[in-house]
């Protein structure tokens, strides 16, 4: 398989309580690029993302079949054969709703992952790593004087950037974003969009968004998911300018209603 593929999903099926959620999705996500996953809500974008880092296994009733390969240390590896803890470190996840550990300090939010995973040892190293990653996420200047305050005191946008920094601290190679700017103000939305674009230099970015405009701003590639199926995948320019599928066209021009089945 091409060296350029960071995540390869092969014939992925997901069902919950016998209800088919993903119905055979195959897609190769290119390395060091931003791929946006778009589609109406309920079409299975979140479940696709969660199948990649196996967060879906937190739902005991979910059944997954098919194959997910992830490039770690420059080698494509079967995600479902890896230790899930290791997989999730290497494949970071940023949630739709900012979810820092609200009761822990900003600093502790940064260090708890690396500490418990043994990525850095000792207060000094952990704090250096925290600083480095907060800088990488563009949050350092805003929080450097309040590192010991509880994370819930941050604004929603800052919380989300803290969550990104927290994922970066685990030295991932791929980062999954699930509609990370939902409910955030324009300023924070813009900063997170810029951040995703900047991060693709070092990481592979896969970002679910329900905003076609956002996909246009950040994405190199776009995957359109509808009703549990991959309808179209291609470079952002081609998908947005000349979609091959009629459904894609309907969606990007705002004419597919959420939840309507094809």
């Amino acid at each position: 398989m091409s060296d350029n593929v960071a995540v390869s999903v092969r014939d992925l099926h997901v069902s919950i309580d016998k209800k088919d959620i993903l119905k055979g999705i195959s897609i190769d996500f290119p390395k060091n690029a931003v791929t946006a996953i778009i589609g109406p809500s309920g079409s299975g974008k979140t479940m696709l993302l969660r199948s990649i880092n196996r967060l879906i296994e937190l739902l005991p009733r979910a059944r997954v079949s098919g194959k997910v390969l992830v490039r770690i240390k420059n080698e494509l590896q079967d995600a479902y054969a890896l230790d899930p803890s290791y997989l999730r470190r290497k494949v970071g996840y940023v949630f739709q709703k900012p979810n820092p550990f609200p009761h822990l300090s900003i600093l502790k939010n940064m260090t708890i992952g690396p500490m418990l995973n043994g990525i850095a040892k000792g207060k000094e190293n952990l704090e250096r790593l925290a600083e480095e990653k907060l800088k990488e996420a563009g949050l350092w200047d805003e929080v450097k004087d309040r590192l010991h305050e509880a994370a819930w005191k941050l604004s929603g946008g800052q919380q989300q950037r803290l969550c990104i920094a927290r994922a970066l601290a685990l030295q991932p190679e791929i980062i999954l974003f699930d509609e990370p700017t939902t409910g955030l103000d324009l300023y924070n939305t813009k900063r997170i969009e810029e951040l995703m674009v900047r991060l693709k230099e070092k990481y592979t970015i896969i970002a679910v968004t329900h905003s076609v405009d956002q996909a246009g701003r950040i994405a190199d590639f776009i995957a359109f998911i509808y009703n549990g199926k991959l309808i179209e995948f291609g470079s952002a320019a081609s998908v947005l300018k000349s979609p091959a599928n009629e459904l894609t066209e309907l969606f990007i021009t705002g004419r597919v209603l959420d939840g309507v089945t094809a």
Binding site: S85, F95, L104, I112, L116
Partner: protein, 285 residues
């Protein structure tokens, strides 16, 4: 006056009445304990807490042995009850749909309602009965602790479960997404989030067992001596109150009131602490 106003007034009146019904007995009991027991404590402020009881007619003495015995018994009960109750509660919250969690919930709901004397009898039969006892052949302090732990466990478990259920699921998912293991998620992320709630759960459990006498009498019997061995009967404050209070001797009755005052203050103190923790409970972001 409109019907609605009348109804409002009626409800307000009823609310005050029920408050009165609650407050009056409490105030009355406290008053009796202070008046009848306070005098005895004041007459021997040190001796009362450090000395052992005296036979009737001799005069003087204290409840030091019962305080010591209660500390031992409650200590062991906490040592068993807190970890077991906490783990059960955490399991019920974190694996809420599993058959084991469901069974645990069912069992704790029954145990909470179980008459405490029956818990004592069952404990006695299993652990220390001459015929069927597994660990000893007669009343023993450790059996009392075990019975008290059994009474405490479902209370702690259910309260801990409730505390964990207040944690938004996103927090859990966040922990797992960082590659944390189950136990790291539970003990390093979730537990600190509900520390206050867990403290409250433990204090409520403690308040519940601190005043129990029946399960102690059934499992441990009655002792008027200092605590000696876990396999022997030990004294305790509630049992002392029971024995002294029912005795015909004036000085024992006075000491029963005094001991009641101490027990009441202790339990109220624990309840007060529990409320402070409840207020401090993390309210989410």
């Amino acid at each position: 006056m409109s019907l609605k106003k009348l109804r409002d007034a009626l409800y307000t009146g009823l609310a005050y009445l029920s408050l009165l019904l609650l407050a009056v007995p409490l105030a009355w009991i406290l008053f009796e304990c202070i008046v009848r027991g306070g005098a005895y404590i004041l007459s021997r402020p040190v001796e009362f807490f450090t000395d052992i009881g005296r036979p009737p007619g001799v005069g003087g003495g204290g409840i030091g042995h019962a305080i010591q015995g209660s500390l031992y018994m409650l200590g062991l009960a906490l040592l068993i009850g807190v970890p077991v109750g906490m783990l059960a509660g955490i399991y019920m919250a974190e694996r809420r749909d599993s058959p084991i969690a469901k069974a645990a919930r069912f069992v704790s709901d029954i145990l909470v309602e179980f008459p405490t004397i029956l818990v004592g009898i069952v404990t006695y039969a299993f652990l220390v009965s001459k015929v069927t006892g597994l660990l000893a052949t007669g009343p023993a302090a450790f059996a009392a602790s075990f019975a008290l732990a059994m009474i405490m466990i479902p209370i702690v478990a259910r309260s801990v479960e409730t505390a964990f259920l207040t944690i938004p699921n996103e927090v859990r998912e966040g922990a797992y997404a960082l590659g944390l293991l189950d136990r790291q998620t539970v003990f390093r992320v979730l537990l600190p989030a509900v520390r206050a709630g867990v403290m409250t759960a433990v204090l409520i459990g403690l308040a519940k067992i601190a005043g129990e006498s029946a399960p102690i009498i059934v499992t441990n019997g009655i002792s008027n001596f200092w605590f000696s061995k876990w396999t022997e009967p030990a004294p305790s404050i509630p049992v002392l109150i029971y024995v002294y209070g029912l005795s015909p001797f004036k000085e024992w009755q006075a000491q029963a009131w005094a001991a009641s005052l101490i027990l009441l203050l202790l339990i109220m103190g624990v309840g007060f602490l529990a409320r402070r923790f409840t207020k401090k409970m993390w309210t989410g972001a």
